[in-house]
Symmetry: D2
Subunit: 332 residues, 4 copies
Amino acid sequence: MTKAGIINVTGYAGVELARLLHQHPQVDLVSVTGRSLIGQKLADVFPHLADIDLAIESEIADVDVAFSALPHGSSAEALLPLIKKGVKVVDISADFRLKDAAVYEEWYGVKHPAPELLDKAAYGLPELHREEIAKSSIIANPGCYPTSAILALAPATQNNLIESDIIVDSKSGVSGAGRTLSLTVHYSEINENASAYALDGHRHMPEIMQELAAPSVLFLPHLIPMTRGILSSCYAKLKKGVSKEQVRKLYDDFYNGEPFVRVVNTPPQTKQTWGNNTCLIYPSVDLRTNRLIVISCIDNLVKGAAGQAVQNMNLMLGIPETTGLDYLAVYP
Amino acid sequence: MTKAGIINVTGYAGVELARLLHQHPQVDLVSVTGRSLIGQKLADVFPHLADIDLAIESEIADVDVAFSALPHGSSAEALLPLIKKGVKVVDISADFRLKDAAVYEEWYGVKHPAPELLDKAAYGLPELHREEIAKSSIIANPGCYPTSAILALAPATQNNLIESDIIVDSKSGVSGAGRTLSLTVHYSEINENASAYALDGHRHMPEIMQELAAPSVLFLPHLIPMTRGILSSCYAKLKKGVSKEQVRKLYDDFYNGEPFVRVVNTPPQTKQTWGNNTCLIYPSVDLRTNRLIVISCIDNLVKGAAGQAVQNMNLMLGIPETTGLDYLAVYP
Amino acid sequence: MTKAGIINVTGYAGVELARLLHQHPQVDLVSVTGRSLIGQKLADVFPHLADIDLAIESEIADVDVAFSALPHGSSAEALLPLIKKGVKVVDISADFRLKDAAVYEEWYGVKHPAPELLDKAAYGLPELHREEIAKSSIIANPGCYPTSAILALAPATQNNLIESDIIVDSKSGVSGAGRTLSLTVHYSEINENASAYALDGHRHMPEIMQELAAPSVLFLPHLIPMTRGILSSCYAKLKKGVSKEQVRKLYDDFYNGEPFVRVVNTPPQTKQTWGNNTCLIYPSVDLRTNRLIVISCIDNLVKGAAGQAVQNMNLMLGIPETTGLDYLAVYP
Amino acid sequence: MTKAGIINVTGYAGVELARLLHQHPQVDLVSVTGRSLIGQKLADVFPHLADIDLAIESEIADVDVAFSALPHGSSAEALLPLIKKGVKVVDISADFRLKDAAVYEEWYGVKHPAPELLDKAAYGLPELHREEIAKSSIIANPGCYPTSAILALAPATQNNLIESDIIVDSKSGVSGAGRTLSLTVHYSEINENASAYALDGHRHMPEIMQELAAPSVLFLPHLIPMTRGILSSCYAKLKKGVSKEQVRKLYDDFYNGEPFVRVVNTPPQTKQTWGNNTCLIYPSVDLRTNRLIVISCIDNLVKGAAGQAVQNMNLMLGIPETTGLDYLAVYP
């Protein structure tokens, strides 16, 4: 059994990781840390984890693989000593996602704590970087929005189907905003409410651009009143002469055999991924304007965070990629 | 007092009209009809209308102004005899919205019942057609999505700010789908769920194109889990050399003095219009891609239907436009 | 026009009061205060109040009537100087509700700041204390839960219909917990969730007991995932020989002519009171166990707080009780 | 591998069973039937079941164990031939729950189709009838409300802690009302809404009385705006001299070792059971009125239906009771 630990378990991505790792047949979750609540039993703070008998510690114990759910900046710093010790790490934060330290500094407002490691980290989107992930021991787990956007558009950009002018209009459930209190996600404020935010630029934009190798992307996130789920509606101008059928065929081929991406025949719904690690993708063409429209759906806490982290861990450990992730979505 | 009647009161737009007309100081709601439930008291079917002492009839009584909340096709047919009698009418359905009967037939699949009247009908968006509405006695009340999209983009198209490539990504609350039962809006299906629909074209698209005089518009509607509200995120390529400040100034000027449109300084939220007749508009520019982004919010049942219908009635009657509509939004 | 002010406008009861007073035809809202946000424009903090041109002040201006939405303890203290100046006051907090200062101290954990005024204050439930309210200039606005419970049970206790053993099981929307941030009402925590709280006793219990003159009441509040509304299910053992018809008749008589209480013929729903000042009451009898069951519904922020406060103000000012409160519920 | 089939898979309990059986390590789901949609692939109708390669049939195939999610009446009839063939059956409907055919007829309005089998059926609440279930081949899977109420109160009734006067006030998520369309659970009607129903008696009441051996129970169900979950608040007069500590100790002992019941130290929340088979129970005492209060939470579709059905199947098959059910709740 592989010994796993979670650094900063106390947010939504952290506890979702705890849930998945506890249920993983080849992993023992042996240590969890927090920046607060230290000494408390995990089960007392999070009753749904009653079956996990661990206390929240200040320091991670001796583990084979460590997940960090710390905020950016702190995350890389906390992982450095583990990386040096040879522990395999999956960073849920943004610290190892951007290959260019200058871009990181521009968007995150801090100097990168370990720019020399950026080359060694794999961007943990298995559908694009499976082999690199398997060989790496530092995984930059993708952001939730980028996961939905990149999977939606990679078949188009890699097959050279589209001209530039990519627009990604994403709608996210509220858990994406985390467990930290704020008026924005106070129940009475966000229930029966919808809004756009980050109109001057969101940190997930450079991540999408990097992975799509796109010169420009307009990314606009929205908050809608549900707990889990991201629906991304992606628009791009189609090259002349590309038919709807060709688009569909290329998407089918691109994701053929992928365990966690399903190209579907009808517009997908976020609920169809609730609690599971699948990304649903529906490519279409608006014939009137000759635009590609791709709709993608994920559970932001699973394929958009903890589930993908486990998928990456499986690849690093050389065990079947779907291990511990073969749950159906919970419906309704 | 003006005598008003509602044809087919039993849907959500119909009962919202009943609520607003009952509270209107210069109107007596004297007659309501339905296609079912005939003979029942309105207050028994809709307990929130307990103060209205009317039974649901099969035929509209003698009125000065009639509102139709019938489905398209039936609506024009039901209004024709009233129009001939000189009754002022506001049609909540789509029957008089499209000026071109051929476009109507293409999108609605039926021959227009009264193409000769299309010229006499005013498109009931007061911010664009106030004078025409005041002179007309047939008002085509705009669709909910078009209201949000046209108000968001008219300042840009009329001021020649943008090149083509308009994309309207709208998110609607579930009441827009009406009171008719369907699995799509069965609570357990749509709660905690989001989806796009009508990817092959939605009937509100030609309406948006007509009013913006735009050669092409990509319009994609989404259903999100809330009862009321539409948030539209509109994208278009900005002409070169137009600054963010110019855009803002033109929007401010365009809607200067409008009682029911407010150009706001921060991204608006649908909840800020809950139960009231305002459209909130936030114009912005994505400097990286030189795109105009306009966010608009309305209550789909008020400014998107019943409230705008009352606003149109006020204009037709020559009374102050805000009469019976000066309620603040209900928050939270 | 009566000049009105709101002390501590920044919570949900406070802004709901601002909305109602702004729309009140015989009142000018001239001053609002806060403990934070001082100097900011009300419309900037609360966009739905855009039509109100007031800044948040630290001290209330010269007014004829003042509403306090401060927390208990602070509220009485802030009102004392106004009371001395002869300003009529409506206290939304609990400070003047309990007639017995010792009971107040027991439940609120502080000494009452002005026990000598308790006798002069009227408990602001107009259906029970209309005349007293009209003569008083200090109104203790009832709690939201007590409003729903007392109105549900007063006809039974006053007509001697029941033996003791009163149980009140109340379900509240989340806005009742206020605008202050807390994990309990963080969206992702309370959405798709229901829970009971205060099993060892809730401060609204002695208030219910006082007004029903009941020797014992078991009151258990619950939080359910909606913004507005309280549904109280009240149970009590019926005296022998009392028929269902007698119960119904007594309830009908008790509330005959009441503008804001409606005894209804089918179990009511909270949505039927959304945004309006009505309390819906459905008395029934479980014949198998000979128990009275009374279901009551209110909007916790209107009849449960701000609306009732306006109703009390109307009575104090000697103007028609329904002035500024004659809005229908907003549905759906 | 045991071959399992689901009769009438197309409702919410049916698809939840399909999800759980598909994930069960010792069972092959080999056949599913419906009364409609026959011939369609399960995965096309229910996209979350994409991994299950079965078509909806009109007749159940050859199986070792069959689950029926048919409505009462039809269910027993459909199961009879299978029972005769020696197939083990779990009936999700009410047909085998009530031991007295006359009580069944009184509450369900039809003659029981097989009264001679009532004695042979085990009431499938393992915590009360484990051994009987293991020996039986006809399991009456309990109703969702009864599961929550009986587990909450059985320790009290069996230990003779309470006098009569049991009141069960239950709050249910909307999925309990099923997938059949109705205005009651139309999204815009039930979102932001709460109501009580069945004030003249609910079919789950005799079931609760039977299992608690209680001479009288007042049971009142409520519908609240969430998809999954039941919270039951149970009240009963405590015998004199029973302390809070004694109550707690008896509950702890009663459920000691139970894999799917957890007696908790703080009031539980329905979300803590989302998607999992646990029942959380919090016993308390209101010292002022000497009443026992017990709060219980379940997921109505898991412990309240499909999960418990699998638990019963495990017992019948003689495999570990928790097999295929050891998932943590999905939070948030």
